[in-house]
Symmetry: C2
Subunit: 226 residues, 2 copies
Amino acid sequence: MNCQDRFGSILFKAEKCNLEEIDAAKVCSTYKKGEVVFQEGTYPFGIYCVNTGKIKLSHSGDDGREQIVRLAKPGDIIGYKALLSAERYTASAIALDDSSVCFIPKDLFMSILQKDANLSFEMMRIIASELRKAETKITHLAQKPVRERLAETLLFIKETYGVEQDGTTLNVRLSREEIANLVGTATESAIRLLSEFKKDGLIELQGKKIRLLNQEEITRTANLQD
Amino acid sequence: MNCQDRFGSILFKAEKCNLEEIDAAKVCSTYKKGEVVFQEGTYPFGIYCVNTGKIKLSHSGDDGREQIVRLAKPGDIIGYKALLSAERYTASAIALDDSSVCFIPKDLFMSILQKDANLSFEMMRIIASELRKAETKITHLAQKPVRERLAETLLFIKETYGVEQDGTTLNVRLSREEIANLVGTATESAIRLLSEFKKDGLIELQGKKIRLLNQEEITRTANLQD
DNA sequence: CCCGGCTCTTGACTCTTGTCATTTTTCCCC
DNA sequence: GGGGAAAAATGACAAGAGTCAAGAGCCGGG
């Protein structure tokens, strides 16, 4: 699966001529696990599209603690908010795995967006759906206890990155700190609750591997109803 | 200032012909304080644009507590997320004051959006900026204590609805519960902290009137740095 | 004008969650 | 393979924040 294949599930919505333009101008690079694709506080020069691998997007809070606001997977576009608002990045993008990411220069992307109603329309839908999710997250952060949010986060990770062949092991390695930063809690709290989940037979832990043993019960613990 | 004047600061970006079409199809209605413009869980038939007045958008959480995710003012568009994703509303819109709101039918709006790159582009920018704010809110909810969030919320309300002629009284009447739902905390906590702020000379309280006496200090309390 | 039902306020208490400190484990890199 | 640093786990403690309960104040409707 090469760069072109994967590039921009969304961007395929672009008109024919634009697609070729994009193809010509894009640059694909690879990032090793832990490498920074773009850094909070800097100005954007274009947008990125995840080709292969996994990217986390995180805000760093005042005290240096980070909050992961999004997990990106192949086909996802990242870095569009800063570009669209012509401001600095408010989040950093960091590879969770070795990843391949394509870059499209700002000018090209913006000019196409302004011409191509189809593409703008699709982008709009995507962003609207992100906003929807963000608002739900706000509500849950404000109202749900950490335990429920952790369970929800485990399900979210599964939704996003899927599982390995065994059908239960989450297909991504996250540190406890990263999990905590997804949930929005202290690392120790995340660790403690993971241990509880394990004790209760909901999950199995082997290092950074997490197996969801009893998804029913995890769902119940997450207490979702919207 | 009539409906037409105010209608859709954004929609003015629409092409000329579309503007007339919109003008012809739109319907303006008034809502008394407390009345519902649209209800979480129902399907959208179009979008709304706030003409005059103030509208709150709130998710209701599992336990019935509500989380206010947005405050809309004249010129703002509401109800677009559900429309764009063709799903039910995830939030309810309720008038905080007597308000006038215009409605544009779904089909018209969607067809214009798909044809008019300019409009899609503008919508996209707006939604992207909302998303930006939402993500910052997520980080703050996860990392900041209630005291700081309350201070931040007071400043946010001022930003959104401004102040009265005296230059210090917030130009909106919110119940303590609504303030709490904006901050993401219990009503009692919000009340207690407001009392503290008052004791510390940051604000003055007279019923639902809130005067920001010492904005410097409120900003410091909010502890903003992004 | 007064009653009844709100919202607001305050106090007391509980408990979830965060912080700090320490130990144990893991995992690189030499 | 071993040493060392980072990550994970666990315990003890503190404190922020939520809940419950009771009283005060305010407001609209009869």
